[in-house]
């Protein structure tokens, strides 16, 4: 067996690293400060084929595997987490639901631009009162003749309000099933549909460059054929894509840990106190060594989960591997940024040093795509424990 990425994956890692260092790194501090979403760079990512990585070639994609997507997310995330999540959400939440559940007509209409990275799509699941508890969804959609009429509100929706957003797929109650439970369906709402508004962007602790909005839907009318997948299967279909998302977030977290490691190795070798580089002090050097361990462990478990996904591993095993990787790497990322800012001392608290940005960006990794608590619950259930 081999623990190495293939030569092609490694070449691709170099290419994405060159892109991130050439196109993103020089500007990232300014974008972060201005909360600027760099449409031109997102479209350049599209030209490089990043959004179409896992889409089939007949739809304009690269026909690549999930591992290649994780490589891209990790390398972008090593330079900036917001750019990494923009790709992760663009593929996992924008493209994949349409790719997996869309009709040929829906795919033909929406995917070419999404796969090429000319446009972005979002997925609206979370609501003010419903996240992982999708049964509490309050957004409603009623069929009126040959139109769905959608009313409700969504929150924390990535890529939903950029100038290149072409649509957001929203989950909505479309009725009640025979057991009295809400029937949740997914409906595609094109940007610019009257009554559909991406509200002012959030003032977030981190991920300043990522486009995230609350959405309001008021008497929004879309044709009946904008139902994505089967009626009443919206939440179940979304759940089916979550395992991928967890592994992808783990890749993003590995990028964060690697960034902390790289920045600390460089700084600890340069910064001198009492006539010696601070890396000569065990108090610093040992912490940097711990970062290397976290990066190595995190990367190994993340790419193992990605390889399982690519190999078509049994769902139960994949779910467990995905949750384990997501839980470990996201918590390691938060720890790594705490260590990195400590190694940088006072400078680590200054926005002019990237470690400060990573410190702010890391926290969301423990929350998004299922909190650490949800991951522990899933892992415990996977072990057969009757945890609630």
């Amino acid at each position: 067996m081999s623990f190495e990425l293939s030569a092609e994956h490694q070449a691709f890692r170099h290419a994405v690293r060159d892109f991130a260092e050439g196109e993103v790194a020089p500007h990232v501090a300014a974008w972060d400060k201005a909360h600027h979403f760099p449409v031109d760079v997102v479209q350049k990512m599209g030209e490089m084929g990043l959004f179409g990585l896992t889409a089939p070639e007949e739809l304009g994609g690269s026909g690549g595997d999930f591992t290649s997507l994780c490589v891209a997310i990790e390398e972008l995330g090593r330079v900036d987490q917001s750019i990494g999540i923009t790709l992760e959400a663009g593929v996992g939440l924008g493209i994949n639901p349409i790719l997996t559940f869309g009709t040929p007509e829906q795919q033909e209409r929406w995917l070419p631009d999404l796969v090429a990275g000319r446009r972005l799509a979002g997925f609206g699941l979370t609501e003010p009162g419903a996240g992982s508890d999708a049964g509490a969804t309050r957004t409603r959609a009623v069929l009126d003749g040959d139109e769905w009429v959608v009313d409700g509100a969504k929150q924390f929706i990535t890529n939903s309000g950029s100038e290149i957003t072409s649509l957001v797929t929203v989950t909505a109650r479309t009725g009640t099933d025979e057991r009295g439970r809400p029937e949740i369906s997914a409906i595609m709402v094109p940007a610019g549909t009257p009554g559909f508004t991406a509200e002012a962007p959030y003032d977030k602790l981190g991920w300043h460059i990522s486009d995230t909005h609350p959405l309001t839907l008021q008497d929004v009318r879309v044709p009946a054929d904008h139902l994505l997948g089967d009626r009443g299967r919206g939440y179940a279909q979304f759940l089916a894509t979550l395992d991928d998302g967890r592994i992808a977030i783990a890749a993003l977290a590995v990028g964060c840990v690697q960034a902390c490691l790289d920045l600390c190795v460089e700084y600890a070798g340069q910064r001198t106190t009492f006539g010696k580089p601070i890396g000569a002090k065990q108090g610093v050097a040992f912490q940097v060594a711990d970062l290397a361990v976290m990066a190595e462990v995190g990367r190994t478990m993340t790419y193992r989960a990605a390889a399982m996904k690519d190999a078509g591993a049994p769902v139960k095993e994949l779910k467990q591997a995905a949750s384990i990787a997501k839980l470990y790497t996201s918590e390691a990322a938060v720890t790594a940024t705490r260590i990195a800012t400590q190694v940088f001392g006072g400078y680590g608290f200054m926005e002019e040093y990237p470690v400060a940005r990573f410190y702010r960006d890391a926290k969301i990794l423990e929350i998004g795509e299922g909190t650490s608590e949800v991951q522990r619950m899933l892992i415990a259930r996977g072990l057969g424990l009757p945890v609630e």
Binding site: F12, G63, G64, S68, A72
Partner: protein, 259 residues
């Protein structure tokens, strides 16, 4: 149908800690190497020319085993085929000897246009394109910042300090391009996977009919007498302002002949 040969060089990474060997040649073993960044511009221009019309891009390099990476990178960017001239006897060749190997290799290929980067990022001489053109008996147009091909006419814009000139050449021509021609593309995953299946020929000096005695360190027309690393930067001088800071700064600048 334009057939383009792009000659590229595998160079030590300019951002790494570069060193010399005991014989004053560049240490190529212990430093990560890559396709010279200036040559990426030539690859990009060649790809754009064939994408505009029709054609094929063959990328050619002369170098040790690792130089195959430079060919591979160009194939990943989109070049169609590669040629790697690899022979131990070539090691240490100067620009003149290298130009002989390149010219002999190019003569074995079908081509309409030969392209180079403006210079290598290690030797930085920028004379190989002209030397190769001389050996091939072709015109050379160097430092092109815009290249267009229309049938058998190649039009090249050269930007100088005071003026820009536009030059045309009919038939076969050797062109070197600057870093003002347009940013080279990043290889896509699709390009990387496709490169696996592209043909790369490996040629020795014997394949080219070049006598080993004509190349290499001993046959080179120029010899590097000595090399020394640049001395490390010294600490700056801090001028403390005690009311006369301006005067002190002016004196410092005057002492360095800036003013």
């Amino acid at each position: 149908m334009t057939k383009i040969v792009v000659a590229v060089k595998y160079v030590p990474d300019a951002t790494a800690d570069r060193k010399f060997e005991s014989d004053d040649t560049v240490d190529r073993e212990n430093v990560d190497g890559l396709l010279s960044e200036l040559d990426e511009y030539a690859v990009e221009q060649a790809l754009q020319i064939v994408e505009e019309g029709e054609g094929e891009v063959t990328v050619l390099t002369v170098g040790p085993d690792d130089a195959a990476d430079a060919v591979r990178k160009a194939l990943q960017m989109g070049a169609d085929a590669g040629v790697h001239v690899n022979d131990e006897a070539i090691a240490g060749s100067d620009a003149i000897a290298t130009s002989l190997v390149l010219a002999k290799a190019i003569e074995k290929l079908e081509y309409d246009l030969v392209m180079f980067g403006m210079a290598s990022t290690d030797g930085s001489m920028g004379i190989v394109p002209t030397l190769v053109a001389e050996r091939l008996g072709l015109p050379a147009v160097t430092y092109g910042s815009e290249i267009t091909v229309d049938g058998s006419t190649v039009t090249i814009r050269r930007d100088g300090d005071a003026a820009s000139e536009t030059v045309t050449a009919e038939g076969k021509v050797v062109v070197s391009v600057t870093d003002q021609t347009g940013e080279p593309r990043y290889p896509s995953f699709k390009g990387i996977m496709a490169a696996k299946k592209k043909p790369v020929d490996e040629w020795s000096l014997a394949d080219l009919g070049v006598d080993a005695a004509q190349v290499g360190l001993d046959a080179s027309g120029t010899q590097v007498e000595s090399t020394a690393p640049r001395p490390p930067r010294t600490a700056g001088e801090i001028v403390t302002d005690e009311g006369d800071g301006g005067t002190k700064l002016a004196e410092f600048l005057a002492s360095k002949k800036f003013i």
